[in-house]
Amino acid sequence: MTTAKIGKHEINFSLEGDAGAPLITFVNGLTQSVGLWTAYSKHFAERGYRVLAYDMLGQGRSSKPVLSIALEDHPRTLAALLDHIGAERTFLAAISFGGIVAIDFALAHGARLDGLVLMSTFADLTPQLEFLGAALYEGLTQVGLPYLQSLLYPMNLSGAWIAANRERIPEMRRAGYIGNDLYALQNLMESFVTFTPRGPRLHEVACPTLILNGEYDFFTPRECHDLMRREMRNSRLVLVQRAYHAFTLEMPAITMRQIEHFVVSVREGRWRGDQSVWVAAEDPEAEPPAYRALGDHMRAIPPFEVPAEAAGKAVR
C-alpha cells in the first residue's frame, strides 16, 4: 500500500502491474477497502494490465474528514490520484456507492475514460433505495456500526455464501469494524443530503459502459440499472445469475471475466454499446461469456411460454 498526498488529505492506494500498461481503476463500495480488490489486481496484472485500487476519502486508511465529505470531492480526488501516478486515461470499474463516484467522474472527466464498468449501483435514488438508505443511516447512528455490518452481510450476500463462510465472518466483521469509522461512514451517507439525480445527465457519458446487475440484488434492483442502460447510449446491461449486491466479493471469477471481456472488446474495437441486455454465463470459463436475455428482463419470474393447458387451468 502507498499513500498519496492529495490536497490536505492522504489517499491510501495500491498499484499493481507495469507502468505504461492499460490501466484499470477500481472504486469501493461504502464499507469496503482497497484490500477487497487484491484478487482483481493480481488477476489483471498477470494479464498485462496496470491496476489501481484506493480507499476513498472517509474509508479504510485514507483521510477521514470529520466536518464533511462532499460527493464532488470524490471525482476530484480520483482525478488527482490519476495525476499522481502519471496516468492520463483509465478503465474505471466501480461498485455501489463507488458507482456514483464513477458516474460523476465520467461526467466531469469523461475524456480520461477508456471505459466504464458500473456494478450494483444507481444514478437516481428510487423511492425504495431512498428508504433503504435512510434505514441504514438510522441503524448506523442510533444502534451503531456493528448493527450496520450485521445488516449488510445478509442484504448483500447469498445464503449459500454465508453458510460457506460462516466461520470466517466474525473475523471479516472485526476487520471491517477496525477499518471503518462510524463518523466517516456517516459523513459519506450524509453527503447524499445534497444528492441530485444523475439520470438526466447520463446521456452525456459517451465512453463504452458495461453495467452489471446481480439477479437477486434487492438493494439496488433492476430498475436502477435499467435506467442507466436506457440513458447511456454506449452501454450494455449484463445480468449476473444468482448474484446479490456484493457479487464482486461472492463471484470474483465471473465478475473478472465480464470485466476482462469488456476491456478486451473495447481495446480491440469490437465493443458494441447498443443498450442491449445480456445474461452472464454461470461458468466463468464459458464461451461466449454472456448470451442475449430473452423476454422481459425487468421481471424476476423467468419468462416462458405458458402451455395452453396450464393457462386454461389458471383461468378456471
Binding site: 442510533q142 444502534v143 456493528p146 472485526r174 476487520a175 456517516q186
Partner: protein
C-alpha cells in the same frame, strides 16, 4: 489506526485471558478517556446556554460517569503497583490536554469559543477512536462481565458521538472552517497517538 496494533493486543489477551493486569490497563485507560471528557462536559454546564444542546451535553456527562462506575465495578484490579505507574504515563496526554487546553471553556470570548470547540473535538476523538471490542479474544465467554461492559460502552459511544458530530459541524461557526478543521485534526492525532501507545502497552507481555 493500524490494524496490527489491535491484532497484537488481542493475541496477548488470547494467551492470558482478561487477567487482572490486562483488565486494570484497560480500565485505567478507558476511565481516563471517560473522565477527561466528562470533566470538559462538566465545565460546559457553566456556559450561558440552557437549550437542547445543553441537555445532550449533560446527558453525555452522566453517561460517561456511569460507564466509569460500570467498568470500575467489573474490573478485577491488579495488585502490581507498576501497572498503575505505567498507566499514568500512557494516559498523561489525555489529562494534559485538559489542563492545557480546555480549562477556560466558559470564557465568552473568541478564545473561549476555540476552547469550547477544542473540548468538543477532544470528546469526538475519544468516542470515535478509543475502541476496544476488537481486542476481545475470539471464542471467549460471551457473558464475561468485563467483555460485556466493553461492548456496552462502545455501543453507547457511537450514540453519544452524535452530539459531537452535530456540534462540530454547526457550533462555533465564528471560527474559520480551516481553524475548526485544524483543531479537530489536532485532537484526533493526540487521541490516536495515546491509544496506539496504549494498545502497544496492552500487547506487551
Amino acid at each position: 489506526m493500524n490494524p496490527d496494533l489491535f491484532d497484537a493486543a488481542r493475541r496477548r489477551l488470547e494467551r492470558s485471558g482478561f487477567d487482572p493486569d490486562a483488565q486494570t490497563k484497560i480500565a485505567l485507560f478507558l476511565n481516563a478517556a471517560k473522565t477527561s471528557n466528562a470533566t470538559f462536559l462538566g465545565a460546559a454546564q457553566l456556559l450561558p446556554v440552557g437549550d437542547l444542546v445543553m441537555q445532550f451535553l449533560q446527558a453525555q456527562q452522566f453517561r460517561e460517569l456511569e460507564f466509569v462506575a460500570l467498568l470500575s465495578r467489573v474490573t478485577r484490579w491488579s495488585l502490581d503497583p507498576l501497572v498503575y505507574a505505567a498507566s499514568g504515563v500512557i494516559v498523561a496526554p489525555l489529562w494534559s490536554h485538559w489542563w492545557g487546553g480546555t480549562q477556560g471553556a466558559t470564557a465568552a470570548t473568541p478564545a473561549g469559543a476555540e476552547q469550547v470547540y477544542a473540548g468538543l473535538a477532544f470528546g469526538h476523538a475519544l468516542l470515535a477512536h478509543v475502541r476496544l471490542t476488537p481486542v476481545i479474544p475470539a471464542g471467549g465467554d460471551p457473558l464475561d462481565p468485563f467483555a460485556v461492559a466493553l461492548q456496552r460502552i462502545e455501543q453507547e459511544n457511537g450514540r453519544m458521538l452524535q452530539t459531537q458530530i452535530r456540534l462540530l459541524k454547526e457550533a462555533c461557526t465564528e471560527l474559520p472552517v480551516e481553524r475548526r478543521e485544524a483543531v479537530v485534526e489536532e485532537k484526533s492525532q493526540l487521541v490516536e497517538a495515546a491509544f496506539a501507545r496504549f494498545l502497544a502497552w496492552l500487547a506487551a507481555a
